[in-house]
């Protein structure tokens, strides 16, 4: 009976109901996007950091990984000590730099990572194989396209480029043996990885053996924070950060996004709330006589409220899947725009869909919808019955 009356009330003004549902769906979509944005980057970053299985990252004192060009001198000695620890399963040293590769359209500059292929954690092979000789490299598609080369081609490359003399320094002939997708690089960033010893030699650092970053994978059941503190005490010239610490720092840097998301999310929630309140108020005012009659024949006040709240809930229910779809489509589009930001790793999603985000957004919307309906319905059910009926009769 209650459902029949609620459905009939919604169907009485179909166009209005449809428009209201669309409005709530847009509000739901925006709310979902904002909830996704507020937690998406953090979650995405977390999964990125954890994806390669390294729990600790060691960078030069006072820097974050690859924040600056600073390196740890004689990093290999630290690597050797770390590899000797029972608590450490593996260590992946990385040296950052650039490779300059002459091509038909000029000299192409590419980010270069010096790595140890057997323990690297910076890329995923999508073709070919890992470098197994000093002159072998893997490159990403952006670089291969730019230099017009493919697997098994050789390239002349230098670690430096003198633009006055138009000549390469630290020049080598290298062979492309693998195609890679670099985990921490932006989507259009050109990237190449080669054995760390080769890159050091090309940079003229074969003796001091610098390292930009060391990624440490701990043995099972190790307390990450205990190891982090121990390594930082042991090696004074480095920063050791755990994934949790890195996430904390990322959190601080992303606070702007979260605040933006919170404000826009709140605005969309308020818009949805006002939309439902307006619609319910209009609808209730149209049936004030009907409500007074229901009360006169003994229908309890809460039952009248329940009927109207049911109507609002039904609208929310209808708007939810629509809002969900709209939110996902919008998020995908916005993601594609934001992914073009320079320096943002390709695998970072600004709007990461998580079921929890959807439930949070829809839950918030449902609660606001119910609250939006409660006041006008309670008010209408509390009007003096006799006066209302008299006014209806006169009207």
């Amino acid at each position: 009976m209650l459902l029949t009356l609620a459905a009939a009330s919604l169907l009485r003004h179909r166009a209005r109901t449809i428009l209201a549902v669309l409005g709530v769906a847009v509000s739901a979509a925006m709310l979902l996007d904002m909830v996704m944005l507020s937690s998406g980057m953090r979650e995405s970053f977390r999964s990125l950091l954890l994806s390669q299985g390294f729990q600790l990252r060691i960078s030069p004192k006072g820097t974050m990984p690859f924040d600056t060009d600073a390196t740890i001198r004689d990093g290999d000695s630290i690597v050797t000590i770390l590899q000797g620890m029972n608590e450490v399963k593996s260590v992946s040293p990385v040296l950052g730099g650039q490779l300059h590769i002459p091509s038909a359209s000029g000299t192409i500059a590419s980010s270069a990572l010096g790595i140890i292929p057997s323990v690297e954690g910076d890329y995923e092979l999508v073709g070919g194989r890992q470098p197994s000789a000093p002159d072998e490299i893997v490159a990403n598609d952006a670089l291969l396209r730019a230099i017009g080369r493919s697997l098994n081609d050789t390239v002349h490359a230098g670690a430096g480029y003198d633009s006055q003399l138009r000549s390469l320094t630290g020049e080598r002939v290298l062979r492309i043996v693998g195609r890679a997708r670099f985990v921490y690089m932006a989507s259009e960033q050109k990237g190449v990885a080669l054995p760390i010893a080769t890159l050091r030699a090309m940079q003229g650092h074969a003796v001091d053996k610098p390292v930009s970053l060391m990624m440490v994978r701990l043995a099972p059941d190790q307390d990450i924070e205990v190891m982090r503190a121990r390594l930082e005490r042991q090696f004074r010239k480095v920063n050791v950060i755990s994934t949790a610490e890195a996430l904390k720092q990322v959190d601080e840097r992303l606070s702007y996004f979260r605040q933006l998301a919170a404000i826009l999310g709140a605005v969309s929630l308020v818009v949805g709330f006002l939309l439902v309140t307006t619609l319910v108020t209009v609808s209730v005012n149209e049936r004030i006589g009907e409500i007074a009659v229901m009360r006169a024949i003994g229908v309890r006040r809460w039952r009248v409220v329940a009927q109207i709240v049911t109507e609002a809930s039904a609208m929310m229910l209808a708007a939810s899947p629509l809002g969900l779809m709209l939110g996902l489509v919008t998020a995908r589009y916005l993601n594609s725009i934001l992914a073009r930001f320079p320096g943002v790793p390709e695998r970072i999603d600004f709007f990461l869909f998580q079921p929890r985000s959807a439930w949070t957004a829809l839950g918030l919307l449902a609660v606001s919808g119910v609250l939006a309906a409660v006041y006008p319905s309670w008010r209408s059910a509390s009007l003096p019955i006799a006066t209302t009926l008299r006014q209806e009769a006169v009207g």
Binding site: M1, E290, R295, G298, V299, R300, I385, A386, T387
Partner: protein, 228 residues
């Protein structure tokens, strides 16, 4: 006979700007159980106000209303609602049926509110529609029924929870003469079957059909006569 309705010194004033206008000026009368009484008088004399106060959908400024020996004029909202549901049947001039519901569902509405479950509720609603001669129209919506039929459905709805008292405010006001006559006959039958009826009307035929006629003017009772 014992009094079913006892009205004592009933006053109802409405604020109008800074003034207070009296709709009832100290009305006192009783309605016995099983009685069929009509309240008549010119528009604005307080007939409907009196009916609303007896029907517990309004509160008096002073005075008291007792039904079945219990004071009802100061009941809390929830208790007043419960009282209306189980003890009083309302019939309005404009029928006021739920347009979205069928005739049977309209009759079921107070039954559902009283807690009657599906099959039993439907059966009772059908029996009531049969009583008012509308068994064949149970699935029709109000818009598919004539005025007289709608009023019959409204009467069936009013009788749903077997109230002690049926209150009707101008029940023939929107009906043509022939349908009005049918309605008068239905009220006669209801009364003969034991329902106490208090009806407010301008309809002389309906007033003549009642056993008792209470005349009102300017918020007071000015006459009270028995028809037969």
């Amino acid at each position: 006979m014992t009094a079913l309705v006892e009205v004592r010194d009933l006053v109802r004033q409405y604020p109008m700007g800074e003034e207070r206008v009296a709709a009832l000026r100290g009305v006192t009368f009783d309605v016995d159980a099983g009685e069929y009484a009509a309240i008549v008088g010119p528009s604005g004399c307080g007939k409907s106000t009196l009916l609303n106060l007896i029907g517990v959908i309004d509160r008096p400024t002073s005075g008291s209303v007792s039904i079945g020996g219990a004071r009802v004029d100061q009941l809390a909202d929830s208790r007043a609602t419960e009282f209306r549901l189980r003890r009083i049947g309302f019939v309005f001039q404009r029928f006021y049926l739920m347009q979205a519901l069928t005739a049977r569902e309209n009759v079921e509405l107070p039954l559902a509110e009283a807690g009657l479950k599906g099959p039993e509720r439907r059966e009772r609603a059908r029996a009531l529609l049969d009583y008012v001669g509308l068994a064949a129209r149970e699935k029709h919506r109000p818009s598919q029924l004539s005025g007289g039929e709608q009023q019959r459905v409204a009467i069936a709805r009013a009788l749903a929870n077997q109230p002690k008292l049926l209150l009707a405010d101008e029940p023939t006001g929107e009906l043509d003469a022939r349908t009005g006559t049918e309605m008068i006959a239905l009220f006669d039958r209801l009364n003969a079957d034991g329902t106490t009826i208090l009806v407010v009307t301008h309809d002389e035929d309906l007033a003549r059909a009642a056993r008792r006629v209470i005349h009102m003017r300017d918020g007071s009772i000015v006459g009270d006569e028995r028809n037969r």
